[in-house]
């Protein structure tokens, strides 16, 4: 480790840390501008199609017909809680024992460490954020004011939506801006019925089709990426050989590679960012080779940190120097603070006995969505902010399983249609708080000798009130629609399972209270950019990843312009 391979061969124009949803976009945009870009990824390489070992398997081809073996469950109590972790997808999730962290409070950290990161695993919901989200902290007096508004990011939403391929309806809602949509997925009879019921009974509530990153009408730009129309297989978390949904692996990473400007280096765990006090800027990164544990330095003029929210905090916290003893750019002392997430605890289900002469056919990798309707235009409840919700209706079959022998078999071969069932889950905005933190554990190290991340995130009274309100409002809405046997549930799950952790390196106008300026640039170290979830000042109720993509493309555009002006 003493002799560093600090030769010219390690010099690039730009470095990107992480190859997931946001890192993939950074790589694509930087290489587009001709910058020689090094993409550092701690996990292994995952090539589109060839590295999706379960992507074309039918359920009966799995050793346990997709059920998880007990040994895997017991060895992985955390990741086993994730709904998408099953025999067909285990290879894309981080196993509990491999990358330890400290739960100061219970936190189920779900991660994908490989080229593509969690973009292979996500549920692909892509709702834009609106001014009601960006104005939230200023209006309601929490966190700090966002330095940007919807108008700043709107063109960049359009930009990334067109390339990624997003399906949805133009719904014309102020709280959920429309985007560049391909044709929407179909609603079924009961969803359509609920949509009409809610529209007729409430003037401020809407049931719409979810907006999601699936190619329903691929355009030239998608064919150029080698992607094809989504085939509705709904096994996306195994990787899609058609490129039917957006992932870094199917889209941005190969696109960046085609420029000839990208060097992708898997098995490269970024340890820290190097700060040069004489130059007054970051000069590169220290990387531990995951296989040999050898440390190497790589240098570049600008650095994009896209390791996913909490790991980005970790990298910055671990980047200490005389100038920044508490982590890179951390003059304000807010690094690692004000982290937050989404509240997914509450669900509500019911049955409906209409449309018994109708059924659905095929599968759909998407479902309807109910945008936030609480406290949108003004504060009107006893809790701050609000929640959006997923909604879906479906109809299953029922078989009589009594008896044994030929009769039982006959029954199994002749299932009959059961009734319609409906379900919703909340997606609540949680409030970033100063004492909601991630820090470096002073004693515990990970297998690479890097301090473990100690996570201290929690639900508060505001979240409890919101859960109660969700149950009440949806009970009312379900009742109004004539749904029966309404059942509410609070999973009491720990933070983390929502997989929407955000903050810690928040944006803000004032360097004294925030880490990043309106260009996602460290106030105190201008050639380092953070454009993943770590940069979020508040959490909104919408899924966040589309916003990470738009912020990334916008920040690269700015960074390149600044480089041309010799400011970086």
């Amino acid at each position: 480790m003493t002799i560093l391979e600090s030769t010219a061969a390690n010099q690039y124009d730009a470095i990107v840390v992480g190859s997931g949803i946001s890192g993939g976009w950074a790589a694509k945009e930087l290489t587009k501008h001709g910058l020689r870009t090094l993409v550092l990824e701690r996990g292994r390489d995952v090539k589109h199609v060839t590295d999706y070992p379960t992507g074309m398997m039918s359920p009966w081809e799995f050793e346990h017909r997709t059920q998880l073996p007990l040994e895997i469950k017991e060895a992985n109590p955390i990741v086993s809680k994730c709904y998408a972790f099953y025999e067909g997808s285990t290879h894309f999730f981080v196993k509990d024992a491999e990358h330890p962290y400290v739960q100061e409070k219970p936190f189920d950290w779900i991660r994908g460490y490989q080229v593509g990161g969690k973009s292979l695993l996500w549920a692909r919901q892509t709702q834009r954020w609106s001014d009601f989200d960006f104005e939230g902290p200023a209006r309601d007096g929490f966190a700090v004011d966002w330095p940007i508004r919807y108008a700043d990011i709107a063109p960049w939403y359009s930009y990334v939506e067109k390339f990624a391929g997003i399906s949805g309806n133009k719904d014309g809602l102020p709280n959920l801006p429309d985007g560049e949509f391909q044709k929407p997925h179909e609603m079924n009879c009961v969803e359509d019925y609920f949509q009409k019921q809610i529209a007729s009974k409430y003037k401020d509530r809407n049931v719409i089709q979810g907006r999601c990153a699936h190619l329903t009408e691929p355009k030239d730009i998608h064919f150029q990426q080698g992607r094809a129309q989504c085939q509705h297989r709904t096994i996306c978390e195994r990787g899609c050989p058609f490129g039917g949904y957006f992932s870094s692996n199917a889209s941005t990473i190969p696109w960046a590679a085609k420029t000839g400007k990208m060097t992708l280096r898997p098995h490269s765990v970024v340890h820290s960012i190097i700060y040069d006090e004489k130059k007054g800027k970051a000069t590169g990164v220290r990387v531990i080779d995951a296989n040999t544990k050898k440390m190497t330095e790589y240098y570049a003029r600008i650095i994009f940190v896209n390791a996913a929210a909490l790991n980005t905090n970790l990298v910055l916290l671990n980047s200490t120097s005389n100038r920044f003893p508490n982590g890179l750019g951390n003059d304000s002392g807010v690094l690692g603070k004000y982290v937050a997430f989404h509240n997914y605890r509450a669900t509500i289900s019911a049955e409906y006995d209409g449309f018994l002469d109708m059924k659905t056919e095929g599968r759909r990798p998407n479902s309807p969505y109910i945008p936030r309707f609480r406290n949108v235009h003004k504060q009107e409840t006893n809790f701050l902010r609000g929640y959006a919700a997923g909604f879906n209706a479906g109809r299953g079959t029922y078989t009589n399983q009594d008896g044994i022998g030929a009769d039982l078999k006959k029954n199994l071969m002749n299932p009959s249609w059961g009734g319609w069932h409906v379900g919703s889950h909340m997606m609540g905005e949680t409030i970033p708080k100063e004492n909601s933190t991630v820090q470096l554990d002073p004693n515990k190290k990970d297998p690479f000798g890097i301090p473990q991340l100690a996570i201290n995130m929690f639900y508060d009274d505001n979240d409890e009130k919101m859960i109660k309100d969700f149950h009440e409002q949806f009970t009312e809405m379900y009742t109004a629609a004539g749904f029966k046997n309404i059942r509410t549930r609070d999973s009491k799950q720990a933070p983390g399972l929502d997989i929407h952790e955000m903050g810690g390196v928040r944006m803000g106008k004032d360097p004294k209270t925030s880490m990043l300026n309106k260009w996602n640039q460290l106030h105190a170290c201008k050639n380092v950019f953070v454009t993943d979830g770590a940069s979020m000042t508040s959490t909104s109720t919408q899924n966040p990843s589309l916003t990470y993509m738009a912020l990334t493309a916008r920040a690269v555009d700015y960074a390149v312009k600044e480089m041309k002006k010799q400011n970086l």
Binding site: P59, W60, R65, P241, G405
Partner: protein
């Protein structure tokens, strides 16, 4: 379309179509217990004009799931239950094994067993029955012929009259 992509994938060896052979030699059960289990499953879902439990590999599926996916309690329930069945079968039929009985005798025997008071035996029967049903309904035969499973449907129709189609 599926075939076009299929060639590009390198499947792990166990991902080739699963067969009873791939699970042979399970450490859980003796040969006698294995054949008793197989005949139990076949009694629950017999061969008719379409394949039954045995020809669809259900007994091996049950062993695989109990062995790999269930806790030691379930494993003991299975093993003890198979022992009890063999034992009771011999007692009640004057020396015949369960496998030695004809179909009607087996059905009667199992119905009696299930109607009996012994909770452990009932648990055992419930376990074997539910796994037999699951093994049958998740088999390739059932999924493709009855459930019409297709890897690539390519569509979703939200409102189709029940009276049409499959």
């Amino acid at each position: 379309m599926a075939a076009a992509f299929g060639g590009l994938l390198s499947l792990p060896s166990w991902a080739q179509q699963w067969t009873p052979e791939t699970v042979a030699g399970s450490p859980l059960l003796s040969a006698l217990e294995e054949s008793t289990l197989a005949d139990l499953a076949e009694t629950i879902i017999p061969e008719t004009d379409i394949p039954g439990a045995k020809s669809l590999g259900v007994p091996a599926y049950i062993q695989k799931i109990v062995n790999d996916c269930m806790d030691t309690k379930a494993q003991e329930t299975l093993k003890n239950g198979l022992y009890t069945v063999s034992d009771l079968a011999q007692k009640s039929s004057g020396g015949k094994t369960f496998s030695g009985m004809d179909t009607n005798q087996r059905l009667n025997f199992l119905n009696q067993l299930n109607a009996g008071a012994d909770e452990e035996t009932k648990d055992f029967f419930k376990l074997v029955k539910s796994l037999t049903i699951r093994g049958f309904t998740t088999s390739e035969y059932f999924q493709t012929n009855i459930n019409h499973y297709q890897l690539v449907p390519g569509f979703y129709h939200g409102c189709v009259p029940v009276s049409t189609g499959k």
